[in-house]
Symmetry: C2
Subunit: 214 residues, 2 copies
DNA sequence: GTCTATAGAATGATAGAC
DNA sequence: GTCTATCATTCTATAGAC
């Protein structure tokens, strides 16, 4: 009845748990992205994670709990992007960095963006408090920065709020609508070179559009 | 056993059918918009249409058939917008008209736009053929027009394809993400005046961005 | 920690009276 | 054309052996 390898066993189990949770979260993200919360089923997630459905419920008691975890991860990525828009005197530098970061995220984590889109379309049952607090505060602070640039004559007098919406929509479009983009690209995903052009194009049109270029 | 009012009755029934189908389609559009095809349930649609569930299946045999009808209606609206981008020598005129039309559609029919977004996110199981034929052909023809403007020196040498994506994403964002926009607007939907500013802003930044303004 | 079997609830669709 | 009742299926979640 002795447990000679208690520590080792515990460590090992913790590792197994960590890895399995990661696998499940990844699978869940892609299923939730494709079908939304209601449309997704735990069987599909389990299947995509290559585990029996019962194991999924062992790691994540309910579908809700699993979904919350997925959404939390996505929100952390969103925060990363938000941080890249720092208080900077140069609009060209600040906006270029921000747009680039958002385009990179759309490229690297399109599923997360889709889950976010689904959540907003559903009227944000889970993230409504984020929207009203963190997102609202962040937005107001950046609106102030953009307004300052306008007051200093560094950019044209555009409406800061709607400029932000344009940046969000343009960058997230490459994640949320990547299937449509791929179809119009002859059925193949955008190459790295094409994506770079898309990125440059977005930056160029927006910066020129607000008069930040000479 | 006579049927004295055959014609009247038939007309009456036809009218009832027409009205009920319209009510159901409207309810279905909003439920499919919010939950996607899998997430939507026929009970929810029936409830939102204020009819017993069995009646819904009387008018639309299957959930699939109902969904196809909804998607077809949306595609027709899309075609309307597409037509507004006509072959015109003046990029300012053509693009202003197109962006305005797309913004108007987002304002008047946000649910349709959301169903479309959900369908694309799901990798277009129902509209894939539209994407590969109608949408692809249309896109290629407009890319050619934009390229001509560039060759004539009327606008800057931007990539036409990515310019279109920017227009699509910016305009559709006001439909698909209207909940987020409303939240950031203090919980109230954009007023007509605010929407007009958003519209002007989009047109101004994009046209300036491609060098179509002086 | 893994997995088969299954309970209990919800869903798409239909039968059949009115 | 309307509506109640219901079947067959699928879904979330859990029990319990290993």
């Amino acid at each position: 009845m002795s447990k000679p390898e208690k520590v080792t066993k515990t460590t090992s189990k913790a590792k197994i748990r960590q890895e399995n949770e990661k696998t499940i979260l990844k699978a869940a993200e892609s299923v939730f992205a494709e079908y939304g919360f209601r449309g997704a089923t735990t069987s599909m997630i389990a299947e995509r994670a290559n585990i029996p459905k019962a194991n999924l419920h062992y790691y994540f008691p309910t579908k809700q709990a699993l979904y919350r975890q997925v959404v939390d991860n996505i929100f952390n990525i969103w925060l990363q992007a938000a941080d890249s828009f720092d208080d900077c005197d140069d609009p060209i530098e600040a906006l270029t960095r921000y747009i680039e970061k958002k385009m990179d995220i759309s490229r690297e984590n399109p599923m997360g963006s889709k889950v976010w889109a689904n959540e907003i379309i559903r009227r944000a049952p889970v993230i409504q408090d984020y929207l009203e607090t963190t997102l609202k505060d962040w937005t107001e602070s950046r609106v102030a920065i953009i307004q300052r640039w306008i007051d200093q004559g560094k950019i044209n007098p555009v409406d800061p709020q709607y400029l932000l919406y344009m940046i969000w929509s343009t960058t997230q479009h490459y994640a949320d609508f990547n299937h449509q983009i791929e179809t119009l690209n002859g059925g193949t995903p955008l190459s790295d070179a094409q994506y770079q052009i898309a990125k440059d194009n977005a930056i160029e049109i927006i910066l020129t559009g607000i008069g930040a270029r000479k």
